[in-house]
Assembly symmetry: C2
Homo-oligomer: 354 residues x 2
């Protein structure tokens, strides 16, 4: 697949310099067509009967394999979820933490992760977003280290394998800005979340959760696929594999769109994304302070000379979609393998003009 | 709106005797059109920028008001969720139960509820599905009574107000088979769930959660709308009202479909549904043992002379969509205000022929 063919799958790119996959990726035509076909079928044929349920479960299995392939793992270690937030809830709830426990996290995490850590009732210890600082914050009470693979603010990539010490606490990885954007690397991760609506360009809300050892995490928030069989008091024998941790029902149309979206990414996705991010830095560096370390991710965060929110609004006016990061004085451009030189020039021209 | 006009909103009813709203309601054409329009807009314009987010949040507010209207309450007491399962998780997680606590439930509940009760870590006490038996099971350790308004198995309706004693444990109500099907009645309920894809005929998965006193339930599973502001350790100042308990992101197309679905129900919805259920009993009583008490709900559950699963398959062959209730030897027909005399006769003819 050539760059032009691959890019042509996304109609929004005809109009906008859409540098927004860190929030929500461009939708491919095939995903919307699949979702529409699914809706039309449900409208005409209803949502019931054995064939409907069988098709639906097979579709979930295919998607589970597709997300496993993105992560470079096997399908029985992947739960289907609707978000990274939900994946974090599933992990934290299953660990049965209380006020005497500690979780170590970084100072550059999204509320989708930190909100769940706080919700667990454990004490949340915030360290600098740096491997050594994180490890230094671990104590005998630490039950979990929870960090992003790629930080949503600065775009820095953390070394996961270095954070997972033998005999040390398990590692929950927020993969929202990495899964589908950079080559898979689960080394060190006990749990790894996927937000499919971002770099996988799927309908929202969709996602997954890698669980290295599903038998060892309690199923505290059981969805409709959790139980092989259950009793009247809700106790149950869980199904095999990570399926027991699936977060619940996902709409048939959303699933159909997700399956199609998993199929639009070319083999050169990761080199492509990295090259675009590198070129984006090159164009922005003369104009603003780029804070993302080179070669780390597909995000390019920069501190503009003026007000970030005003710059984002001005760029929006010019058909350039990026976001600012409130209270951090940063603007973030998300560079996909689908991003063109022209998209990047529109961004740089807009920054230069502001 | 006449019966014919109202029924004509659902294309599936042209083909099938679709008696399946207890699992998933018939989809109205307007809901699918709204979802398609939303998908088309996202395809062409992307999913980002201030206007996109503003529209999305306004849509959520309109839906919150719509679900509040279905329940006969105010929007600030309604959280948006994706299911009854999720609503139960939000309540149970917020109560911070442990192994020393008890929850009283009935022996006729869905795993969507009981799975979460078990997941809480509390001891789940199962009583007969009868108001007196439930109250008799309450002890000084009981922290919650959790039951359905309408039981998904027998279709019996419980008297909620009778279950809520002053000074007694709070009441969580699984409203999956009642919200939108029978007149709203939150009397006695501290928490009441809505499954919008069932009797409200919305895309799946959608729903809501009524919370009588949002300030008193801890936000243990915070979604993206939970926090007015938050700190790096995930601690946060919650937003006003039940919005703080929203379960997370719901796709724009799904929301658009849900809003449209809320608009298809005629004023005579409740009398209509009750009349259809009563007529359904009348036709089935000579053919099978009807277990649903008269006048309780829009479900009609019956024990057929032969094997329930075989009967359901045979009915499916005839274009009649109902379900069996595994291990209870029952078949369940869901009677909506949209159900016609012909639909019911097709069901009765199929039962008679088996």
């Amino acid at each position: 697949m050539t760059f032009e063919e691959a890019r042509a799958q996304f109609p929004v790119l005809d109009r906008l310099a859409y540098l927004n996959a860190g929030s929500a990726g461009p939708l491919p035509r095939s995903a919307v067509e699949a979702a529409r076909a699914s809706l039309d079928r449900d409208l005409a044929e209803g949502r019931g009967g054995k064939a409907y349920i069988d098709d639906f479960l097979e579709l979930r299995d295919r998607i589970r394999r597709g997300i496993a392939a993105v992560l470079g793992t096997s399908a029985d270690l992947v739960a289907l979820t609707d978000s990274t937030t939900r994946g974090c809830q599933i992990v934290v709830a299953g660990l049965d933490l209380d006020a005497g426990d500690e979780i170590v996290t970084s100072d550059q995490e999204h509320f989708g992760l930190t909100g769940q850590l706080h919700g667990s009732g454990a004490r949340v210890v915030v360290a600098e977003a740096d491997e050594e600082a994180l490890l230094a914050a671990v104590t005998s009470r630490t039950r979990l280290i929870a960090v992003s693979h790629v930080l949503w603010t600065t775009g820095r990539r953390l070394d996961l394998a270095g954070l997972r010490r033998s005999g040390g606490p398990p590692l929950l990885v927020d993969g929202a800005q990495s899964a589908g954007a950079i080559p898979p690397d689960l080394d060190g991760a006990d749990f790894y979340t996927v937000s499919a609506q971002k770099w996988l360009c799927a309908p929202e809300p969709t996602g997954g959760l890698f669980v290295r050892d599903p038998d060892r995490l309690r199923v505290a928030l059981p969805g409709f696929l959790a139980a092989e069989r259950h009793e009247a008091d809700g106790s149950f024998v869980p199904r095999a594999g990570a399926q027991r941790l699936d977060s619940g029902w996902i709409g048939a149309a959303t699933l159909a769109g997700l399956e199609a979206a998993l199929g639009v990414h070319p083999e050169w996705r990761y080199e492509g994304g990295a090259k675009v991010a590198s070129r984006c830095r090159e164009l922005l560096e003369p104009l603003a302070e780029v804070v993302t370390p080179a070669g780390h991710s597909t995000l390019v965060s920069f501190r503009p000379p003026g007000d970030p929110a005003e710059l984002v609004a001005a760029l929006n006016e010019r058909g350039v979609v990026v976001r600012d990061l409130p209270s951090r004085n940063l603007v973030r451009a998300s560079c996909g393998w689908w991003t063109s030189e022209d998209d990047l020039r529109r961004l740089a021209d807009g920054v230069a003009a502001s």
